[in-house]
């Protein structure tokens, strides 16, 4: 099992609120989907207030990652396999 914290990633937001991360994904990712808490991504179970927004931008996946003492991070990880797995769930980004 690969821990998210051991994977190379870009931190888009750090110590943010969960709502800020969701809004960023919905507004800025070309495609995104909503999943429930406990959804498995990168061998981890997602933590979040439903609905959890996950973004797909090319081969990159953007998702919230919450730590009890550090708040929520919005992470971007390049992984063509996970991006492809999410593709059928995704819709185009919000505009306006």
């Amino acid at each position: 099992m690969v821990c998210v914290e051991d994977m190379p990633c870009e931190v888009i937001f750090s110590r943010a609120s969960f709502a800020e991360c969701r809004e960023h994904v919905e507004r800025h990712c070309p495609r995104y989907c909503h999943v429930d808490p406990g959804f498995r991504l990168f061998d981890s179970y997602l933590i979040g207030v439903p609905p959890i927004a996950i973004g797909v931008d090319g081969d990159a996946v953007l998702f919230p990652y919450t730590k009890p003492c550090h708040g929520t991070f919005l992470l971007r990880i390049e992984d063509a396999g996970e991006a492809a797995r999410l593709a059928s769930r995704c819709r185009d980004r919000k505009t306006g």
């Binding site: 979040g48 009890p68 929520t72």
Partner: protein
């Protein structure tokens, strides 16, 4: 002789930076155990160590589990407590509580919202739960009283 432990309960602990959490966690552990619950604590390594150090005789704390692993076990259905008490004094704490609530739709779910921003934070908790809200930071007395009322320990 210890009472027979009947049902499983889960204490979902947040970051330990707000002092009342520690006292209230030990209070709940003692009271719930006396009521017959088998209580598991979930939290980050620091909060679990604080509890272990506070209870050298292991009179209160029982099983303890790292919080992300606990969420995984809830998602996999390996753990299904009848009662969950979640502590939240931050957006992150509320996020973990919302996750546990979603994964435990049948459980009795009590949310303790505390800290300086308790009232604003409590408004963000829109999931079904019994909510106890107090601005407590250092003094646990009022929050303890509210907890005792909710669990009918006041008498």
């Amino acid at each position: 002789m210890s009472p027979e432990l009947r049902e499983a309960a889960l204490l979902l602990l947040g970051c330990p930076e707000v002092p009342v959490q520690q006292a209230l966690a030990l209070h709940l552990l003692g009271r719930l155990r006396a009521d017959g619950y088998a209580v598991t604590c979930a939290g980050n390594p620091a909060v679990l160590q604080l509890l272990r150090v506070s209870d050298p005789g292991r009179h209160y704390i029982g099983p303890a589990i790292e919080i992300e692993r606990c969420i995984g076990e809830l998602a996999e259905g390996k753990r299904a407590p009848a009662l969950c008490v979640a502590f939240a004094h931050s957006d992150a704490g509320l996020t973990f509580a919302a996750t546990a609530r979603h994964l435990l739709p049948e459980a009795r779910f009590v949310l303790l919202v505390f800290g300086r921003e308790a009232e604003a934070l409590a408004e963000e908790a829109t999931f079904p739960c019994e909510k106890i809200v107090e601005k407590a930071v250092h003094n646990p007395t009022r929050l303890k009283r509210r907890i005792d009322e909710v669990f009918a320990w006041s008498a």
